[in-house]
């Protein structure tokens, strides 16, 4: 749906900051999250998990557990159908191991019992005989010839012969003559980087409640980013028809991509079917860390050539990503995003995915991009240092703009990168003097954004209020944004609109809440549904006035005769038309269904001032500013919130967060004490500067904003730390011991 460029639009409500509709529920404890519901006769299930990184499951003896008083059902991998589709089959095997446990924490059996204590005790009574196999958790080690083989026969045709069996996926992007580009450079820098796997770290562990009736109808309540995705996957794993499984999304306590797949939901359903009782599963935090999330871990080489005056002549990157024990395409995103911020004559990126004995990767905010862009932005920064160039000037000089052939192929339409860079340069933060020992880091960031399948119903109530029914869980204020767009389009006050998130039986399919798609796609569908309703309301007014439908137009929340020839009638408001709808043809509703494209790519620039304690290697963030193009900020508070929250997750990734595996292949830090996410006292205020360069693909110009802000912090901080300590840092996180080691080695 194209941008409404013909109208010089003065927004009346979009762009304001009203209270969110679910605010009261969420500040009073009334809002119901995944673990907050119960059902009569409910059982509690617990999951037994592999203590080994890699082991053949020789046998599982559940007889003793099954015989315990209060135990109602036990399941293992044998109880789950294996779908033909390879992607679904991988999810099924990840949900419950079959012949092999592929990582520490891989589920091998589950017990449903009348109390949590009995379920827990029954886990101990299950006897699993393992044959421990050699394991590998490091991405580079897994690529070596002779590395332990995680899974066989999973390489796609794109993988060249002769690579390790663990390599499943290869891709290549770029254009131009690299050799000629490097030949034109005055300076070439080539570096290798590593980034640790991190976890999305949502505060709400996965939780669900399932029930299945004897005639095969099932209900599932769960915290998810996409109830329709849950239905599709669970129906396939259960051998059910979609219509027989109704999935209701609870309020969701964070996801960031990590709740775009299933883990416990099929287990609860299978146990509910087996026992005939509702079954609830809530993960512990230890389980969340060991068996869900995380991101890919990576190893990346980057080579960039630059002229003395700061023109990038060529860029090349080789990316090795591991998405854990299953094939994973996230490296494509990294290979595409690495150089997206630059207008380059010669660029090439190659990516490989490698299997390791780690949990199956789940999306985390701009999946694959932060790592690749961290590596590229680190080398750009080093070239700026060597050539004594201003890092923002160099980025402005090379910035991609409208008409640029992007490093991954498409030609960019209107994009906001230059405006964002210029805003950063003009901001007082960039001019503020630094004290001795302090340094400033800069980085660009990029994300593709996504549209996707979306379905919205908009019902006009007879009292002049409106209900919007959408299908995407509200993870950060989206009900407010959707209500604002409906109110704007219809010309009625915001508080006359109520937006609800429907279950899978009440609305057509909606893709998961991901790809920064909700405000864009659901907003677009809501605007279109409102337009559909307006056409119908104009027709009702026409009927009342006895004139042609085309002779009526919608303005300022009312139907008006269009022009002097239509006749003289006083306008009819939405409320007036709604009040008599039963006499003019029945209820009034608007609908829109779309597979939306035109999401419009997103760019951001971050500035970070920091200092490093030379005694301890600890980094303190002193000042942080985020500049990002939002297209049109529908509810600026929640746009700022995305920018601030994403930046802080990136700060955690840069400074502290990492999956640490022991030599036994077991995760050493599966808890918030040892996996340290940023806390309030670690941080300054995060200044969010919103730019609005309308997205040509949305009627109000909206662009997704949720993912881009996690991208720049990795390099912004690493560049700041590198400048502060005088050593180019090449590995994340920049934990105090690692930084201290670099300082000492310098």
């Amino acid at each position: 749906m194209a941008f409404d460029s013909h109208e010089k639009r003065q927004f009346k409500q979009v762009g304001t900051r009203p209270p969110r509709p679910d605010g009261v529920d969420k500040v009073t404890g009334r809002a119901q999250y995944g673990a907050d519901v119960t059902a009569p006769g409910m059982l509690t299930a617990r999951i037994l998990r592999s203590p080994h990184a890699h082991a053949r499951i020789v046998s599982i003896d559940t007889s003793e557990a099954e015989a315990m008083a209060g135990v109602k059902g036990v399941v293992t991998g044998r109880d789950f159908a294996l779908p033909e589709d390879a992607g679904l089959a991988d999810i099924a095997v990840n949900v419950m191991a079959r012949d092999k446990a592929l990582y520490d924490g891989h589920a091998v059996a589950a017990v449903a019992a009348v109390s949590p204590a009995i379920a827990k005790a029954a886990l101990k009574a299950i006897k699993v005989q393992y044959e421990v196999l050699p394991h590998v958790t490091d991405v580079d080690a897994a690529m070596q010839p002779g590395a332990p083989v995680v899974l066989e026969g999973r390489a796609l045709e794109s993988v060249p012969a002769g690579m390790s069996v663990n390599v499943t996926h290869a891709s290549e992007f770029g254009h131009g003559d690299l050799a000629a580009g490097f030949a034109k450079a005055d300076r070439i820098v080539e570096r290798s980087f590593k980034t640790a796997a991190t976890h999305q770290g949502y505060i709400e562990p996965h939780a669900c409640l399932a029930s299945v009736t004897v005639d095969g109808k099932a209900d599932l309540w769960c915290c998810t980013q996409g109830q329709f995705m849950v239905r599709t996957v669970c129906a396939a794993l259960m051998g059910m028809e979609a219509s027989q499984l109704r999935v209701t999304a609870s309020e969701i306590g964070g996801g960031f991509g990590g709740k775009t797949t299933v883990f416990i939901e099929p287990v609860a359903l299978v146990l509910a079917r087996k026992t005939g009782r509702p079954v609830k599963i809530t993960m512990t935090r230890d389980e969340v860390f060991r068996a869900t999330g995380p991101t890919v871990s990576t190893s990346i080489d980057v080579k960039i050539g630059m002229t003395k005056d700061g023109r990038i002549t060529a860029g090349e990157a080789r990316l090795r990503y591991s998405g854990g024990a299953f094939p994973c395409g996230t490296v494509d995103m990294g290979a595409m995003a690495a150089f997206a911020a630059y207008d380059l004559e010669a660029v090439r990126t190659q990516g490989w995915n490698v299997l390791t004995n780690r949990p199956k990767e789940a999306a985390y905010r701009a999946p694959g991009a932060p790592q690749a862009i961290y590596a590229v932005e680190s080398v750009v920064d080093e070239l700026c240092q060597i050539l004594k160039l201003d890092p923002l000037d160099v980025r402005i000089r090379n910035a991609a703009k409208k008409g640029t052939k992007s490093s991954y192929g498409p030609v960019f339409d209107d994009i906001g990168l230059l405006a964002t860079l210029e805003a950063a340069k003009a901001h007082p933060h960039y001019k503020a003097p630094l004290k001795p020992g302090q340094a400033r880091g800069v980085s660009c960031g990029f994300w593709f954004n996504f549209g996707g399948n979306t379905c919205v119903s908009l019902n006009v109530n007879t009292d002049g209020t409106v209900g919007v029914t959408e299908g995407n869980p509200d993870i950060g204020g989206s009900r407010a944004s959707i209500s604002l767009m409906a109110a704007e389009e219809l010309g009625i006050p915001y508080d006359k609109v109520r937006t609800i998130v429907a279950d899978t039986a009440s609305l057509g399919y909606n893709d998961v809440t991901d790809g920064s798609r909700v405000t864009f796609s659901v907003g677009l569908a809501t605007i279109a549904a409102a337009r559909d309703a307006k056409v119908k309301m104009c027709a009702r007014a026409a009927k009342i006035w006895g004139i042609d439908d085309e002779a009526v137009e919608w303005k300022d929340g009312a139907a008006w005769p269009a022009g002097p020839n239509a006749g003289q009638f006083p306008p009819m408001s939405l409320a007036e038309i709604a009040a008599v709808s039963f006499q003019t043809g029945g209820p009034i509703a608007g609908h829109h269904e779309v597979n939306a494209d035109g999401a419009g790519v997103s760019f951001g620039v971050h500035l970070c001032d920091l200092e490093v304690d030379p005694e301890t290697g600890k980094t303190t963030i002193l000042r942080y500013s985020v500049f990002q193009d939002a297209g049109k900020a529908v509810h600026p508070d929640y746009v700022e919130g995305q920018m601030q929250g994403g930046a802080v997750q990136g700060i955690g990734w840069a400074l502290n967060e990492e999956y640490i595996y022991g030599r036994d292949g077991r995760l050493q830090n599966p808890g918030f004490l040892d996996y340290r996410v940023p806390v309030a006292s670690d941080l300054p205020m995060i200044e969010a500067v919103i730019l609005e360069i309308p997205n040509p693909g949305h009627p109000y110009g909206v662009r997704g904003v949720g993912e881009t802000p996690i991208v720049p912090p990795l390099a912004a901080i690493s560049n700041g730390v590198s400048r502060a300590v005088g050593v180019r840092m090449q590995e994340l996180p920049l934990s105090p011991p690692r930084v201290l080691k670099a300082i000492k080695a310098a």
Partner: protein, 158 residues
Amino acid sequence: MSSISVSTTVNGDPVDFVCTPDESLLDALRNRMGLTGAKEGCGTGDCGACSVLLNGRLVCSCLVLAAEAEGAEIATVEGMAGPEGLHPLQRAFIDHAALQCGVCTPGILVAAKALLEKNPDPSDEEVRYWLAGNLCRCTGYDKIVRAVQAAAAEMRSA
């Protein structure tokens, strides 16, 4: 395991419940009393989502045994709003968009209320250190600190 019966006051109301000796106060609140405002983010005292007041003291209810609540006064997020409406902190959190997913919010509100009772005029740094035990993964804390300060200012002028 034999059950223990416990008499407490929760949000001003007398409440009796039974629990097992190893049951946490958080589980008793959520599963025995139906007060699901306090959340379990970790169960190990690291996230603060389960924050409640026990005899006026801020605690992680996942680290307190339910049986320890015998004779105690417990305050949870469910008790913050009165018949006259939301607590100033609750209003400020909505007005300043200090929540995104909202799952940390009950714990943070309880903790912030405890702070303002002790210190009605905290600095930003004091707010940040006091809330350092309450993880929020969504907001980056910026709007939370602003909301607490706005509520503190309103409460001082009331």
